[in-house]
Amino acid sequence: MSENKNTPAGTSHEVTATERNTDVVHAERFTDPGLHPHKLRLADTDPQAAKRTERIVTLLFVLSVLGTIGTLVAYVAVPPEGPTSSVRLSTLLLGLGLAVSLLGIGIAGIHWAKTLMSDHEMVQERHPMRSSDETRDGAVADLNVGIAESGIGRRGLLKGAFISALALFPLTIAVPLIGSVGGDWNISKFKHTLWKTGMRLAIDPSGRLIKAADVTVGSVFHVIPDVTQEYRESHEWITEKSKAVVLLVRLKPEDITSEQGEGWSYDGIIAFSKICTHVGCPVALYEQQTHHLLCPCHQSTFDVANGAKVVFGPANRPLPQLPITVDDEGYLVAQDDFAEPIGPSYWERLK
């Protein structure tokens, strides 16, 4: 690289390289006036100002050291013991110390650079990215020699074997990986939930069973299938619960204008899958006055009184209805599993 040189202010040279486009060529263009004249800073002319700046920079570094010490003191003196407030205090003190320590160094460095270090603009040349024709020819020649020496052009069988071997070997890793990474790959599980004939409805998360008589008009229950406490502490349960959660409401029987199956509700008690048919958020907000269920994620709105049909938002299908009835003891039970897959749509949903 050539030596740096300052272009003397005032020299002018043509800036716009000649255009390849021949259509726009002005008769003449203005000439480049060259660099702005250099302006001296206060610290350049006034030694006292320079001295003062030096002291400020030094002080900022000292402040940083104090910040570090502060953090260490806070670490020892204010441990996060106990409730949230104590954790917050510890976090605040450690963080403030850290911030002072870092900002001290940072501001000092910038101030130093801006006020005391040279601010004379320098000019260096650029060179085109393209390598010279000579270099290019040399490179092509080298490549050709290399390819010729390998003989890959002449030895067709070897070339084929080489490419096949390279192309195939990733299978040794990909096949075992892809085989196992999706578990059992049994996507028919999307179509079934824990609900089955006679399965009792229980309150989420306590697991208490629900009697039809307990459900007053206008009330809402978040419902799970009645399974053992032990099962409810397993991983399998979280996956099953993700499909089986149900929202149960009681309307006046005369308010129900339609449902998804004949006799699927019991005396105005009606149950729908809580998993949104859009992308699967739990549809958790019920508006008693309008009988509307709202998904808080993307605001799909379903009309409970009218077969959970979509009244607004990005969902396309109604929430699947869980057919329910009561058993001999008066508990609410499922008549069967959902009649269709719950949750978001997928390619094989209707297959």
Binding site: R20, H36, L102, R126, V181, K189, I238, S242, A315, N316
Partner: protein, 573 residues
């Protein structure tokens, strides 16, 4: 670069005597590091505040690495279930949760500085993405993506997408209710993909959602794969930047053949180091004072509850908004028994696909319609490329409308508006807004260019009113100085492409005419409206037929009736 500073003594004659000299001599004899130092120590970089945006992204990434390493010491990426035994926070004691969530609570409540590092890490991620986006805005609006930097634009775009992946995978690690619902939405989107959707969902979750594998898998992606790729691409990004040398803003003495600025040593070493510490310091301040993602308030993942007003991190809002805006009715198609949920595919795949494709191909399209093959190192003033600037603003408008739509529930509750009306307004705005923004921006740019012409031709208004002997009043205008004028005339107004005729002289149809014609149309869209820079001839003409903008006292002995006509600031021509 600071480590090489001491090596400057290398060139001392004969045997070095100082410890630094000896070390440098030792190193150079084995690495010829002197060549590197000679090349880079005084390399010139142009200076402008907007060049700092990329630095903010870089340095917040470094802070992410530092705070991230701290967090990995305490986080356990396991979905095994456990009862939380810690006493704090009290509402979580004894609850059933995953080990991942429990370790997040422990690192927040029992590790000194743990919560601080979590909060610094989260804030850094938000600032990292914000810095990337604003850095890209600077690149786009100033045309820094032009030859030879198109490839570096692609590297940057890839890093933007990796940044989204890093943010998303990290956000999902604590296994709390909110992140679990985020994953659930992701699962719904994955399932919507035709043919392979269901199997892809199994591939991601190792079975049905949520399964027991997703947190450890995301952990590997979050702390190994994505940051590894990011580090490699950052190295490539910076290498290309050094190789191409940095762009510079237009101004006197700055050309496509030079680079004007300050040397790496000492100015940029000091400024960049200082900048790193300031950025780290500000992030530390944010982590110390601003609580973020208090997962113990949400609780461990449970597929049943979700609260309203839950937003993803800001950089994901546009996807969320896109999902919210799409109407569901009539948009799920069943073809030969297979389900095609366009109500998910369009907003979650097509919309981001279009947005990213625009960004990926833009530099190449613009180069084609500009029809030049020069290298560009002097940046454009955004007004001088009205169509590009307008397209950029239209893009941002779409992005912002989508992000706002992703917060429509918060807008509804804060301003007591109906969520349905807000959604409908955004459904219309997403089509109208960008077009309107394009039109307004283009007009503003052309207006600013005309203003520049006006200034160059007629100078600054001086506020000095002069009355001539014949009673005519004029305001004296002060011509621009050389630097001011140069800034306003030193650009090239491209014209639409000219193509060869459809058939040659003998009437033979030319191959490729159709494609040329389409490019020409696009080129017209870009460059039909243009304002040419003032030429010296025009300036001379403006002075000669002067509308008395300038006043030569000798020619017009004026009666000084003006305001403050004290000094002879007027100039002849």
């Amino acid at each position: 670069m600071s480590t090489t500073a001491s090596n400057q003594h290398r060139e001392a004659p004969a045997k070095p005597t100082t410890p630094a000299g000896k070390a440098a001599d030792y190193l150079d004899q084995r690495t010829s590091i002197g060549v590197l130092v000679k090349e880079f120590a005084r390399k010139v970089f142009p200076d402008h505040w907007s060049f700092m945006l990329g630095e903010i992204a870089l340095f917040s990434f470094v802070v992410l690495l530092i705070s991230g390493v701290f967090l990995t010491m305490f986080f356990e990426p396991s979905m095994a279930l456990t009862h939380y035994e810690g006493q704090h926070p009290a509402n979580m004691h004894g609850q059933l949760m995953s080990v991942a969530f429990a370790s997040t609570l422990e690192m927040s409540f029992e590790v000194r500085g743990g919560l601080l590092m979590r909060q610094i890490h989260h804030w850094s991620a938000l600032i990292f993405m914000a810095a990337i986006v604003t850095h890209m805005m600077r690149i786009f609006f100033t045309g820094a993506f032009r030859k030879p930097r198109e490839l570096n634009w692609l590297v940057g775009m890839t890093m933007l997408i990796l940044g989204l992946a890093a943010g998303f995978s990290g956000y999902s690690l604590p296994d709390d209710v909110l992140s679990g619902n985020g994953l659930r939405i992701t699962d719904g989107v994955i399932k919507s993909i035709p043919v392979i959707g269901s199997y892809t969902s199994y591939l991601v979750f190792g079975g049905e959602f949520p399964g027991a594998h997703i947190v450890p898998r995301l952990f590997t992606i979050h702390i190994l794969i994505v940051p590894g790729l990011l580090l490699a691409l950052i190295a490539l990004h910076l290498f290309l930047m050094v190789l191409n040398k940095h762009t510079q803003y237009p101004g006197g003495g700055r050309t496509d053949d030079n680079v004007v600025g300050f040397p790496a040593l000492p100015v940029y070493v000091a400024k960049m180091t200082g900048n790193f510490f300031i950025i780290f310091g500000v992030l530390a301040l944010m982590g110390a004072t601003m609580a973020i993602n208090n997962v113990w308030n949400y609780g461990p993942f449970d597929p049943s509850p979700v609260s309203a007003g839950a937003q993803p991190d800001w950089y994901m809002l546009f996807l969320e908004g896109s999902l919210r805006l799409m109407p569901g009715q009539g948009t799920e198609w069943v073809i030969a028994g297979f389900t095609l949920p366009l109500n998910i595919l369009v907003p979650a795949m097509v919309v981001p696909g279009l947005l990213f494709t625009f960004l990926f191909v833009y530099p190449f399209v613009e180069a084609k319609v500009r029809g030049d093959e020069r290298e560009h190192h002097v940046l454009d003033r955004p007004r001088n490329v009205p169509t590009r600037t307008a397209l950029g603003v239209a893009f941002l408008t779409a992005f912002i409308i989508l992000a706002l739509a992703g917060s429509n529930d918060l807008i509804a509750t804060h301003f007591h508006l109906s969520i349905n009306s807000i959604t409908w307004v955004f459904r219309v705005l997403i089509f109208v807004g960008p077009v309107f923004a394009f039109w307004v921006t283009k007009r503003v740019c052309l207006g600013l260019q005309r203003k520049d012409r006006e200034l160059v031709l007629h100078g600054h208004e001086s506020g000095r009113i002069v009355r001539f002997a014949n009673g005519e009043y004029i305001e004296v205008h002060r011509p621009l100085d050389e630097q001011e004028r140069w800034l306003r005339v030193n650009y090239h107004a491209y014209e639409p492409l000219r193509i060869e005729p459809k058939s040659d002289a003998r009437g033979v149809k030319r191959k490729g005419y159709g494609a040329d014609r389409r490019w020409q149309r696009l080129s017209r869209f870009f460059f039909e409206d243009r304002v040419e820079p003032v030429t010296p001839a025009e300036l001379a003409a403006a002075h000669a037929h002067g509308e008395h903008d300038e006043l030569a006292p000798a020619e017009h002995p004026a009666i000084g009736a003006g305001v403050g006509a004290g000094h002879g600031t007027t100039q002849g021509h």
